[in-house]
Amino acid sequence: MTPSMVILLTGVLCAVACSLLGTFLILRRMAMMTDAISHAILPGLVAGYVIAGGSNLLVGAAGAAGAAMLTVTLVEALRRTGRLDGGASIGIVFPAMFALGTVLVTRYFAGVHLDTDAILYGNIEFAFFERLYLGGHDLGPQSLWVMGGLVAGNLTFLLLFFKELKLTSFDAGLAAAMGFSPLVLHYTLMLVLSFTTVGAFTAVGAILVVALVIVAAATAYLLTERLIAMVAGSAAIGAGSAISGYWLAIRIDGSVAGAIVTMTGVCFGLALLFSPSSGLVSRARQHRQNRRRFTLDLLIAHLGSRERSGQPGSGATAAQLGAALRWPASQVRSTVARGIAEGMLTQAERGVRLSPTGRAAVDGMRRT
């Protein structure tokens, strides 16, 4: 496998692992927990480094997961005081954890070269060179094992507990009444998110991992009305962003992680504009169509009531219509033109009157 294939595959697996979880974080309105966890794992990583006496994947991951769970517990405890909402609780806990990590790093590892760029932006570009060795055998790039494991683990988690996650996300009260503890599921989801964050963080860094978890899922949220489709769509958008992001990074010779996250943002922007159900464009079009429809309906209804009040056939001039409906002349002109084009109106001796089609439409309106 070539180095570039390793980078591409690492990116795809990482994006899929992250975005699989995003759906439930968004629906539970706890998207920013990802940000909290990705920063709060720093003291855990340092503790792992101290305990293992050096860089060790498993010990580091365990330390980071421990720090993440501590963060989750503290946030939950603060929220439960009833004085702080979720956002404020997160805002208090994660900088404190990150600060603790920073202090630990400067106190104990002042001499060690610590690559802050790697922490902030990841080092997916070196994915090929970080190999996993077991008993002296080279098993290939470590990132593929880690990200592949995360995808498999997260998929298993979702498949096993899809029903429980759905129920606790939609209606925690009913879930609890049925005996599915929302708290147990909350902590399990947070644990899975912690491992995912720890794994993804080595590839794309502490800041960009949030985007991988949240943005693809938010994009899918705009495009579908089914939960299962949102989860699948989120993973697909994540994978697509990774592939197109890698291509973009090669084209512009820039950061791979940055380009991948940029592409998730592009996907979100496109969905926001062009989603058939909730996109800004389709909404604007719908709005305009409705307005046109209603003005024409209003016009023919007005002509209908004129006819009924004993002015049949003679027609109404633009000036009469404008005065009666209190419309500007331009609106009368364009609406009349549309009415003629749609066969609702015909020319009369003076102005316009209803065509047989238009009269039928008015009668239809009167019946409903």
């Binding site: 629906l27 009833g82 096993l160 507990f161 899809f162 029903k163 429980e164 759905k166 129920l167 996300s169 939609f170 209606d171 009260g173 009913l174 609890a176 009444a177 049925m178 005996g179 599915f180 949220y221 579908t224 009305e225 089914r226 939960l227 489709a229 949102m230």
Partner: protein
Amino acid sequence: MTATLAPTPTAPLAAAVSRPDERAAAVAVRGLTVAYRDTPVLWNIDLDIPAGTLTAIIGPNGAGKSTLLKALLGLVPVAAGTAEILGGSLAARRRRIGYVPQRGSVDWQFPTNALDVVTMGTYGRLGWIRRPGRAERARARQSLEQVGLADFADRQISQLSGGQQQRVFLARALAQDADLYIMDEPFAGVDAQTERAIIDLLQTLRNQGKTVVCVHHDLETAPAYFDWLVLLNVRAIAAGPFASTFTADHLRATYGGALTLLRHRVGSGALS
């Protein structure tokens, strides 16, 4: 909740709590006290709701009506006291309780359709990990039919009207196949026609021998709808058969200062 809370309930009020009916109790509460921080929301409640009744829990805002339901379901921490459900502990009876929370307690933008929400009613019976299959979906469809929403199975829930959303919740409770139904304001924000359909359904359940307990707000409609009454204002003011419990004295004891409102309601013939 402006009443001062002496540690012991005053004698006349305690005496007003009715003796248990000879029928088996669907809900038996003893000395139940629930507090948020240092404020008791429910104080020393003793209560029996006989099986096979259609019961209204009535009281002013902040009386602890929803909290009482949540305490029965184990959703809020209980400071003191016990609640027995259908003659056993809550843990043993969970599967036999159907729950209709307040409609506003969930996010109706959630990406799902009516049938899927109703299918959630079958989750309790399935237990952990097992997924709903054909039988569960069939049960859900049947429940949707019972509430007159068969044609709305595939409708995204945000596109349902308030009354339809309320009926979806009701159908979900039906899919729980329960013996005791606990409902938090099932008539809130629905039109008269939907209200009629809902009460017909609840009365059908009662006639099948089920027990239905509702938080209810409308003193005008209550006498026509319910056959058992619990008047609550932090304490259990009175409980018993509807007609004999729905008295001006009890209502005054329950609503305290809101007497002008009461006089209007009593004057309009709400009281039998």
